[in-house]
Symmetry: C2
Subunit: 199 residues, 2 copies
């Protein structure tokens, strides 16, 4: 029994510096925000692939892997959206602390929700405005959601029946309504390399 008391020797976690050295890049949160149909998920996943090919530790959080799991208990009311974004921000910060570049692809329409994450995790948070005009997103309507929202089938739909509050001073703006994917991706990659790569 005495020997087992050494279990309580103070243990130190692997430091962020050690993770950065091993990965050759810092951890960080690339917080995409923008309307439905602006291209957040597509650009996030293209960025994930491009960074992975450059040997980054990178992961995308989006509706596909968060809404069905962690946040399955939440709906689309203002309160639930706020809690949805709060939890995603905290999970993203855990990933960043673990050394990852984590890309989050959520509409996250409320400025206060995004600012709260920035305030809690200033070291990691970069706000990236995936900016396509509502008319463009609605004209695309790849998932048919705008049509349903206009018909009244979808409540609280951002841009139609719920507000979208654009970032006041995003770290990066991607005009995805005007530029092709490759050009958007190049801008995103340059941002990451400049900001998170080990020099």
């Amino acid at each position: 029994m005495p020997k087992s008391e050494t279990v309580f020797t103070v243990a130190h976690r692997v430091s962020e510096q050690d993770r950065t050295s091993a990965n050759r890049h810092r951890g960080g949160i690339l917080w995409f925000t923008g309307l439905s149909g602006a291209g957040k998920s597509t650009l996030a996943i293209e960025l994930e692939k491009a960074l992975f090919a450059r040997r980054y530790q990178v992961y995308t959080l989006d509706g596909d892997n968060v809404r069905q799991g962690l946040n399955t208990d939440l709906g689309f009311s203002h309160e639930d959206r706020t809690e949805n974004i709060r939890r995603i921000g905290e999970v993203a910060a855990l990933f960043a602390e673990a050394g990852f570049v984590v890309v989050t692809a959520f509409i996250s329409p409320y400025r206060a929700d995004r600012d709260r994450i920035r305030a809690r995790h200033p070291k990691y948070f970069s706000e990236i405005f995936i900016n396509a005009p509502l008319e463009v997103c609605e004209a695309r309507d790849t998932k048919g959601l705008y049509r349903r929202a206009r018909a009244g089938d979808l409540k609280d739909f951002t841009g139609v029946s719920a507000p979208y509050e654009p970032p006041a001073a995003p770290e990066l703006e991607i005009r995805s309504g005007e530029k092709p994917v490759d050009a958007c991706l190049a801008d995103l990659l340059a941002f990451v390399e400049q900001r998170l790569a080990l020099k």
Copy 2:
């Protein structure tokens, strides 16, 4: 505008297989369970360090990084403990999907809560019983919590005023009340290498 429509080309995420090849190990959840004072956090952090030194992508989720952030809204009632464990399980699965070996160090006293995570994420989940007898944990009482629980200062304290349900068939049992840290750690490392390392 036409060019931007390529934003909706179907994007495929980085596959798990690609992550495994890059990291030379699979992702997985090492779910530690056991009484307060059994050595979960200490062993988790020692394991994290040892795996990191072996070039694993590894991260520990514990009270220090989860209770103050993601689960700051939850208390210690049965319902809140269940939701606490549910969320941690979902976050751990995201880490495992991202290629990490994630160690979770929570008492997680209810069998049903642990079994629910196993059922949702069978590919990743390994239950590891950090097993020290109550008498040993209470005699150690490094944080003074047992004393406070016996005095009635702490409600719903596992082992004193709330139940602990041991795993029926854990993937691994570590008798941390009898073995020194080094021996516990060797058993944990052997388990990880056998189960998650790329052969």
